[in-house]
């Protein structure tokens, strides 16, 4: 196991009176591919959004390389630049071209020159097979293409961890494959990834760690063979059986 990048400790989140996350503990080490599975409403996405501080945790701490990011060790923006995020609904900037989407962060946040930014953007667009579409606007692309651009945009920031929030849930079935394929390739290259997903095959084949969540708590976690093959908890068994007997 490599160096620890993220440590989440006693993380809780409440919306009004609803407790969505309760006392979550887990760690992400360099090179880990962690899949977070669970039924809708179990708090998976909220957990991911808390890690990226898109939601402010109610209590608990998030350590990035041992530093508590909420205690002001580094700015939220600087932290987010290191922790990339890919959204279910893509969230590509609709006022920019594909290339613009992949360069704006590098230019404005990382202060790279336009040339350098474009060069590395093209490299990542090539990786996701979207170079031909560099001049297109997001609205002119299909869902799968948008998501691949979104992945390239996140990669262009050269992040240490990539968070994926149900990246294939908004896609037509025939487009799911192309996005998963890109993610698989990234995992093969040793990218540290945290993936909220309903794609059990992906979780089984690609991840090194699977976390099963239910009602805002981590119910069970471990290697994919254990969680998906021989789960111990009743809840996990029930969830998986519902999933596989659809």
């Amino acid at each position: 196991m490599g160096e620890l990048i993220l440590q989440v400790g006693h993380l809780s989140k409440t919306f009004g009176k609803n407790e969505v996350l309760k006392d979550i503990d887990f760690t992400v080490a360099k090179g880990d591919v962690t899949s977070i599975i669970g039924a809708s409403g179990s708090g998976k996405s909220t957990l991911l959004r808390c890690i990226n501080l898109l939601e402010t945790p109610t209590s608990g701490e998030i350590l990035y390389h041992g530093k508590n990011i909420q205690a002001g060790g580094m700015s939220e923006a600087a932290y987010r630049a290191k922790v990339g995020m890919v959204f279910q609904s893509f969230n590509l900037f609709s006022n920019m071209s594909v290339l613009g989407n992949c360069t704006v962060g590098q230019c404005k946040v990382l202060k790279k020159s336009k040339m350098d930014a474009a060069k590395s953007a093209l490299q990542y667009l090539d990786k996701v097979g979207m170079t031909p579409y560099q001049n297109a606007k997001p609205r002119q692309l299909s869902g799968g293409q948008k998501q691949r651009v979104a992945i390239a945009r996140a990669l262009a920031m050269d992040p240490e961890v990539l968070l994926f929030d149900e990246p294939t849930s908004a896609l037509d079935p025939e487009m799911v494959g192309e996005v998963l394929e890109v993610m698989r390739a990234l995992a093969d290259e040793g990218m540290t990834m945290l993936v909220v997903t309903h794609e059990m095959a992906f979780a089984r084949d690609v991840s090194s760690q699977v976390v099963f969540m239910k009602n805002g708590v981590i119910c069970e976690q471990g290697g994919p063979d254990k969680i998906l093959g021989a789960p111990e908890k009743e809840e996990t068994k029930e969830f998986l059986s519902r999933f596989f007997n659809r």
């Binding site: 898109l54 402010t56 969230n91 946040v109 031909p132 002119q140 920031m157």
Partner: protein, 288 residues
């Protein structure tokens, strides 16, 4: 009624310089006032939508709250009173209250100030609406790549908000072209004030009013055509050029991810082979 046509012709031949001068002043005042009003509106809209996190320090929270109240008062005050009275209060009221200390050197400046402030009050609400209308996902996408609130606003949200409120800006410009006609009250000689002056000497009220009608209609229609064109331009082209390294690649919109690792290796080999062939061709050409 019999000499309606000839009256209009008479007025135009004798006073066209005055009419045209009025048109020029009206259009310049409306354009400048709308532009500066938009800037004020953007500033207010931007300041109003600064997010407050529960964990922020109390001083920042207090100032943001204060700012919101001030903007609120400004909007309600200038949106809720007639521009003609605002003109009276600013042009005649200011010197009266200050005992002549705050006095406008020209009616131009006063008129420009009044139109800008008035438009700003309307635009503040439009811009706030425009910002709210941009999908929150855009903000999240920007935040997720490490942009600050200011960067998110200037590069992602405001350009999209601007596009969304273009019809509102057009509305304001057209309203301003017409409503600057109240500036005769402070003696600013725009299009309508010229009409009043001309009628005062010729007594041909209705023919002159007809010229005014035509003049205003031409100004507003031309502006609305131009604004439509601007909107179209902002939307950009519907088509886009595919960029292909290999000019012979099919580009019929069916491009997909190039497949699994094994497929990619095979493709890479084929590409290498192709390049090797290409190089050979080049070198032979070079030899000759």
């Amino acid at each position: 009624m019999n000499n309606f046509g000839s009256d209009i012709a008479y007025l135009w031949s004798k006073y066209s310089v005055m009419y045209l001068d009025g048109i020029e002043k009206t259009i310049v005042l409306a354009l400048l006032g709308t532009a500066v009003g938009c800037l004020i509106g953007f500033l207010c809209g931007l300041l109003q939508t600064i997010p407050v996190a529960p964990g922020d320090n109390p001083v920042k929270k207090f100032f943001l709250a204060l700012l919101r109240v001030v903007i609120r008062i400004y909007v309600e005050l200038f949106r809720g009173t007639p521009m003609i009275l605002q003109a009276v209060f600013i042009y005649y009221g200011l010197p009266y209250i200050t005992g002549g200390a705050a006095k406008f050197s020209s009616t131009w400046l006063a008129a420009f100030l009044i139109v800008s402030i008035n438009t700003g009050a309307y635009m503040a609400e439009s811009v706030r609406g425009g910002i709210l209308s941009v999908d929150p996902g855009q903000t999240e996408g920007a935040k997720a790549i490490g942009m600050t609130h200011f960067q998110t606003m200037s590069y992602v949200v405001l350009p999209q908000a601007l596009r969304n409120i273009m019809p509102q800006i057009g509305n304001n410009l057209i309203i301003n072209i017409k409503d600057t006609s109240i500036m005769f009250i402070i003696g600013f000689s725009e299009f309508f004030a010229e009409h009043r002056a001309i009628v005062g000497t010729t007594n041909k009220y209705f023919p002159s009013a007809t010229i005014e009608m035509g003049g205003y209609l031409i100004m507003t229609v031309v502006c609305s055509i131009i604004l439509r064109q601007v909107e179209k331009k902002m939307d950009g082209d519907d088509s886009y050029a595919l960029v292909q390294a290999d000019p012979l690649t099919m580009t019929a919109g069916t491009y997909n991810y190039s497949g699994s690792t094994a497929d990619r290796q095979q493709l890479a080999q084929e590409k290498a082979a192709r390049e090797a062939r290409g190089n050979r061709n080049q070198s032979t050409r070079g030899d000759r």
